[in-house]
């Protein structure tokens, strides 16, 4: 008993049998989701469009209230009073997939100030914070431009700044790299790594299994409103049935590794590689 309590202190987000339908009596979007996310982890959420990832994210900061089941943040069930929600939303920040659906202000500065101003932080401090976060996320070069004239990648940077400026414990990113060019994908990945290093828990929806394999501490594979599998990336990526069920391809690096093992080029029993660098060493050394 004592042990389970101790463990739960490290659980930043927990879902217990969460069910949610957009329409009363309609198809459930979440059909009994139970999972635990440890503080400081990098967790990739994968699954087809419509498998419930985004709905789950919106339950994590109390935008949607489950029809049944409980979401706990930092060990406390979400309190759906006005005050309780404010606390949860401060602690769990949400970055949407399409920046055009998140940004509504005329200027970058105004946009970023929205959250902290709502927190009632004194203006001076808000200004300092904005400068800090703009600098940190490399927004300063285009800070003067109106929000609607930014490129897709720049908009994305601003959407992260929006949330980061509120000092959340958890940042949820819904497909941060979709529709970005190579430069911004790289930048986005750097930013995400930076955040993770600061100890912020990161939940990220992504369709890029190669990236998830290399980046994540854990993958949550969702299917039709349920958690099909939650495990470390290699375990998930080697569960070929689960991948097939969710129409996911096997990551290229694992596929090549598996084929080489099958052909006898590499020995059996090697730890599956998560990056091509690792595979390269296997091949070079196993020769």
């Amino acid at each position: 008993m004592a042990e389970s309590e101790q463990v739960s202190e490290d659980i930043i987000i927990e879902a217990r049998e969460v069910r949610y339908s957009y329409e009363e009596g309609g198809q459930p979007s979440l059909d009994g989701v139970s999972l635990k996310i440890e503080r400081g982890k990098k967790v990739a959420f994968m699954g087809a469009n419509g498998s419930g990832k985004s709905t789950f994210f919106l339950c994590c900061n109390g935008i949607y209230r489950p029809d049944s089941g409980t979401v706990l943040v930092a060990g406390q069930p979400i309190d759906y009073s006005r005050k309780g929600l404010m606390a949860v939303r401060r602690s769990v920040g949400l970055v949407f997939q399409d920046p055009d659906n998140q940004l509504f202000s005329a200027s970058v500065y105004q946009e970023i100030s929205f959250g902290p101003m709502n927190l009632g932080i004194p203006e001076d401090e808000v200004r300092r914070e904005i400068e800090r976060v703009m600098d940190y996320l490399e927004i300063t070069p285009f800070r003067e431009r109106p929000a609607h004239a930014l490129s897709g990648g720049q908009k994305k940077q601003v959407t992260i700044a929006d949330v980061l400026v509120m000092h959340p414990d958890v940042i949820i990113l819904d497909e941060p790299a979709s529709a970005l060019d190579a430069k911004h994908t790289k930048l986005m990945n750097q930013i995400v790594d930076k955040l993770a290093k600061e100890g912020i828990t990161i939940l990220m929806a992504t369709h890029d299994i190669d990236y998830a394999l290399e980046w994540a501490d854990e993958i949550v594979l969702m299917h039709e409103g349920k958690v099909l599998l939650q495990a470390d990336p290699v375990t998930v990526c080697e569960s070929r049935e689960a991948l097939a069920m969710t129409n996911q391809e096997e990551p290229a690096v694992l596929k090549l590794f598996r084929r080489l093992v099958e052909r006898g080029v590499l020995e059996e029993g090697l730890r599956p590689p998560v990056s091509f660098g690792q595979l390269e060493r296997y091949i070079a050394e196993g020769r």
Binding site: A106, S107, P146, H148
Partner: protein, 234 residues
């Protein structure tokens, strides 16, 4: 305030309480089937010149620049969306903007007459706000009279160099109140009071809708100011 009015006020507060428990508030659209046929036709006919004027100006605009078709359509979709979203309100009941003042200020009263009738048709069919037989009456109050007044106030205020925020607020807020007055009079004309005729009936309709419409008009005014001023900063 006469005694009669005081009683009326009390009665309307009672109605308002009743009103607070009803789920959706779209009180200023006259509902389907509520007007006698002759009134449906009459209000429809009264709208025709305004719609024709709107149609001609629209056509001219399209001939000058074909590209404006998608722009005008977006304006119409915008008015529909902004007037069908729940707005924050004091009482917690759910209410909507009318969008009349906003539309008139942004797109001018002539464009708004045609867009207005389309939006009202969609509202009737998709949301059951208003109706098909009452489309004429609703078009007159919400797409003709309200926007014309809003636009007039807006123009007068800007000529008098009134502060922009104030003029936008007055245009939207008074436009909303005017719409509500016109609707009340439309209802009163169709249903005169047994004791006191059309005038007494109008007072009664104004009275029952006042508790919801007056705060709503203020909120509409505020929202319109935020939107219009917001657009200027782009």
């Amino acid at each position: 305030m006469s005694k009669k009015e005081k009683i009326l006020l009390k009665a309307s507060i009672a109605f308002a309480l009743l009103f607070a428990v009803t789920p959706a508030v779209n009180a200023m659209h006259i509902m389907e089937g509520y007007l006698p046929p002759s009134y449906c036709v009459t209000w429809g006919v009264i709208c025709i010149p305004f719609l024709a004027a709107g149609f001609i100006s629209l056509k001219k605009r399209l001939e000058e620049n074909r590209k404006s078709i998608t722009l005008i359509a977006m304006a119409g979709a915008f008015i529909f969306v902004i007037s069908s979203l729940k707005i924050p309100s004091v009482t917690g009941s759910c209410s909507h903007m009318t969008g009349t003042g906003l539309g008139a200020i942004l797109f001018g009263p002539s464009a708004v007459s045609i867009l207005g009738i389309i939006v009202l048709l969609f509202q009737a069919v998709l949301l059951a706000h208003g109706g098909l037989t009452t489309l004429g009456a609703n078009t007159f109050s919400m797409a003709v009279a309200g926007p014309l007044l809003s636009f007039g106030i807006y123009k007068i205020c800007s000529r008098l160099k009134v502060n922009r925020k104030v003029s936008v607020f007055l245009a939207a807020c008074l436009g909303d109140i005017f719409t509500y007055c016109v609707t009340s009079i439309q209802l009163a004309l169709a249903y005169p009071s047994e004791s006191g005729g059309v005038a007494a009936s109008a007072v009664k309709f104004l009275g029952v809708f006042a508790p919801t419409q007056l705060p709503l008009a203020v909120i509409e005014g505020i929202l319109t100011v935020v939107i219009v001023i917001g657009l200027e900063s782009y």
